[in-house]
């Protein structure tokens, strides 16, 4: 079992190095897919192991797998598989450059490391590494816009994550003055060294603020719409679907460590503020959005805001709902981003003001997008419906009634905005009827593999109903976070 804890990271690194070498050029096309598949398989194996009561460790305890890590690794794998498999360019397209598959593999490896590391410092390093791996992926198209997005992304994300480092440093100082310097949460959780609350307050606040940047929470979200809209579709899917969640995972871990020391008040206040601000920003900027991919990016900010509120609420229900939300959102968002890439490829634009009647003209592309949007809007049978309902109930339960009220109102505005743009793009006819010209025949092609999308969306639709082991891993993972506090 311990092997599976190392495998994802090691394999991704090998792949990154290997695909750079000419002999393995043929593998390049599938590098991301293979890496994701390995991560997914390892994740599932680890989930089984964890359910079995084991706690696999590796590399001298630097990597340690509890229920939460195993779940997050599965999320990374499944979302990664959706994004990379679904994002496979048609063979006739331009050949990928050598760096692209290597960077994707590095990116996936860094995320795996982030969720598997038992050390918050290593987690930080891994998250910063994702910035490095994705910087050139964002700027991949080398256009002015992608260059601009890359610059903003690197500067804003690095600066933000640097703040998290400051927080981690202070946390380390606190443990040092407590007598047992460590950044490992298994030790922090097991030994509960006497930490100074006032110092941990600063540390936790800074760490959360820093990781919030990477998680796309307002007011640190500014890089997100630019980077997500300019990156190639599969990368957008990965970033939006899972990178944000990995950063959110870091916030959860920090919260779990600091919570017993300083109580929930401060972090709850910060997360509520960030959550509501994110929802507000997403609402305000969705109303008059003009670009499909940016619209999806703001939808990610919305969902991260909701997750922040779930973290603020705490408790088994809220946290297991948050984790279910992470998975559902990841699958649906990566699918929609992948399809938005196909829309860009076929229509030549992602402007919501220019594309019309897509469902009529290109049902093969429009239908999966529409289904994905339905999922993202939180409608049943998709799991996001359950997680949103549970988060609101848990929030009210924890005394955040007004916060939840404001949140759902903002979500309503976002719903209306997203529906408005989606309807405008999808429905109707491009040309007014009666022009005399015969309507062009509908293009039923999917313009890419449809299986990953169908599987991802199907899974999203079903996991809300999945009682049994899936339900157990969710509650176990929530329990890891000390959900009973």
């Amino acid at each position: 079992m311990d092997l599976f804890a190392v495998l994802p990271i090691a394999f991704c690194l090998m792949l990154a190095v290997g695909t750079s070498a000419p002999p393995l050029g043929g593998l390049r096309r599938y590098a991301g897919v293979v890496a994701s598949a390995v991560i997914l398989v390892s994740g599932l194996a680890l989930v089984v192991a964890v359910l079995d009561g084991q706690t696999p460790t590796a590399v001298g305890g630097q990597l340690r797998v509890d229920a939460l890590s195993a779940f997050m690794l599965t999320v990374v794998g499944s979302v990664g598989l959706t994004a990379t498999w679904g994002g496979l360019e048609p063979r006739t397209g331009p050949r990928a450059t050598a760096s692209y598959p290597a960077l994707v593999a590095l990116f996936l490896g860094a995320m795996s490391l982030a969720v598997l590391a038992d050390n918050i410092g290593v987690l930080w390093v891994a998250i910063e590494a994702t910035t490095i791996a994705t910087a050139f992926l964002v700027g991949y198209h080398r256009s002015r816009r992608s260059l601009e997005a890359a610059w903003k992304y690197v500067v804003l994300a690095s600066v933000g994550v640097a703040i998290a480092l400051l927080g981690i440093v202070l946390l380390y100082a606190a443990t040092r003055s407590g007598g047992s310097p460590t950044l490992s949460w298994s030790q922090l959780d097991a030994n509960r060294p006497p930490l100074d609350p006032s110092l941990v307050r600063v540390a936790a606040a800074l760490a959360i603020l820093g990781f919030a940047t990477k998680a796309g929470l307002a007011p640190m979200h500014s890089w997100l719409p630019d980077a997500h809209s300019q990156a190639p579709a599969p990368v957008s899917g990965l970033m939006s679907g899972v990178l944000l969640s990995v950063a959110f995972y870091a916030i959860l871990r920090v919260q779990a460590i600091a919570g017993p020391v300083i109580g929930p008040g401060l972090m709850r206040g910060m997360l509520v503020t960030a959550g509501l601000l994110s929802l507000a920003v997403a609402a305000a900027l969705t109303i008059r959005q003009r670009d499909l991919k940016r619209m999806l990016a703001y939808s990610s900010i919305e969902h991260m805001g909701l997750l922040a509120l779930a973290a603020a609420a705490g408790g088994v229900l809220a946290l297991s709902a948050a984790l279910l939300h992470v998975l559902g959102h990841g699958l649906a968002k990566s699918s929609t981003f992948v399809v938005s890439g196909r829309i860009l490829a076929t229509e030549g634009t992602t402007s919501t003001t220019q594309i019309r009647g897509l469902l009529t003209r290109r049902p093969g592309v429009a239908a999966p997008f529409l289904v994905g949007m339905v999922a993202l809007l939180g409608l049943p049978p998709f799991s996001l419906f359950f997680s949103e309902v549970a988060i609101v109930i848990a929030g009210v339960e924890r005394g955040l009634t007004w916060v939840m009220a404001v949140a759902v109102v903002l979500m309503l505005v976002i719903f209306a905005g997203l529906a408005r743009h989606t309807f405008a793009v999808m429905f109707g006819q491009r040309t007014a009827p009666g022009r005399g010209e015969a309507a062009e025949p509908a293009d039923r092609g999917a313009h890419g593999p449809w299986i990953p999308l169908a599987v991802a969306l199907g899974v999203t639709a079903l996991i809300g109903f999945a009682a049994g082991p899936f339900s157990t891993i969710l509650t176990d993972a929530a329990a890891v976070l000390g959900a009973n506090q």
């Binding site: 290593v122 480092l165 440093v169 380390y172 950044l183 670009d291």
Partner: protein, 220 residues
């Protein structure tokens, strides 16, 4: 090393750190700022050495060497080369707020730094702890430079000042962080700077110069 010498040395390196940061804000010539950055890196390395000697920790001395290499030689060197390629007389012509205001802002930020480091004083009355506000101040200065300077290089420099500040806090409060993390963080920093440099070059070739105000095509 005697306590007073230790305190004086810590104070000295702290002062150099702070002064170099103030000068970075004050100066407009980018190459001068890079030089000051090297000085700052040196001061940081010096601080780590002092701490290491004081604690008798070899690990810290190794880290001091690492800091010296990275922050005095490698990073300034990289920047210097890049600046030279752009022409030696590169200047930050029109920052978003003028130098006078920036300097007044610095004093405010310094006070803020002292104010907010209050909770950190619980770590003891070691001279190193007393110097922690300097680190926080550096972080804030770096942020100020990032938020107000138009030139891409200026932002890079601001980022490095910010990073030096975090380093300062780390060494002063905890005598650094675990080596694995330290190595990883340094590598990350190096890579970020490299990436930003590559991007700067691309921006220059794409936009004509490296004025970040041109980068406003992505909005809403």
């Amino acid at each position: 090393m005697s306590d007073s010498l230790y305190a004086q040395l810590v104070g000295l390196s702290g002062g150099v750190l702070l002064l170099s940061a103030v000068l970075i804000v004050w100066r407009r010539s980018i190459s001068a700022e890079v030089r000051l950055l090297a000085v700052q890196g040196g001061a940081l390395a010096g601080l780590v050495t002092v701490l290491g000697v004081n604690e008798g920790s070899t690990e810290l001395l190794v880290v001091a060497g690492l800091v010296l290499t990275l922050k005095v030689v490698v990073l300034p060197g990289l920047l210097f080369r890049a600046v030279a390629r752009h022409g030696a007389s590169l200047r930050e012509e029109t920052p978003l707020i003028n130098t006078t205001t920036s300097l007044i802002a610095l004093s405010l930020l310094t006070m803020l730094a002292f104010l907010v480091s209050r909770p950190l004083l619980v770590l003891g009355d070691d001279p190193a702890i007393a110097a922690v506000p300097i680190g926080i101040a550096l972080v804030l200065y770096g942020f100020l430079v990032l938020a107000t300077r138009r030139h891409a290089f200026s932002q890079l420099i601001g980022f490095l000042v910010l990073d030096n500040g975090i380093g300062t806090v780390a060494f002063l409060t905890a005598g650094g962080i675990p080596l694995v993390v330290e190595l990883g963080a340094s590598l990350d920093l190096l890579l970020v700077v490299l990436i930003l440099q590559v991007l700067t070059a691309r921006i220059r070739s794409e936009f004509g110069d490296a004025d970040l105000d041109d980068l406003t095509e992505l909005r809403d």
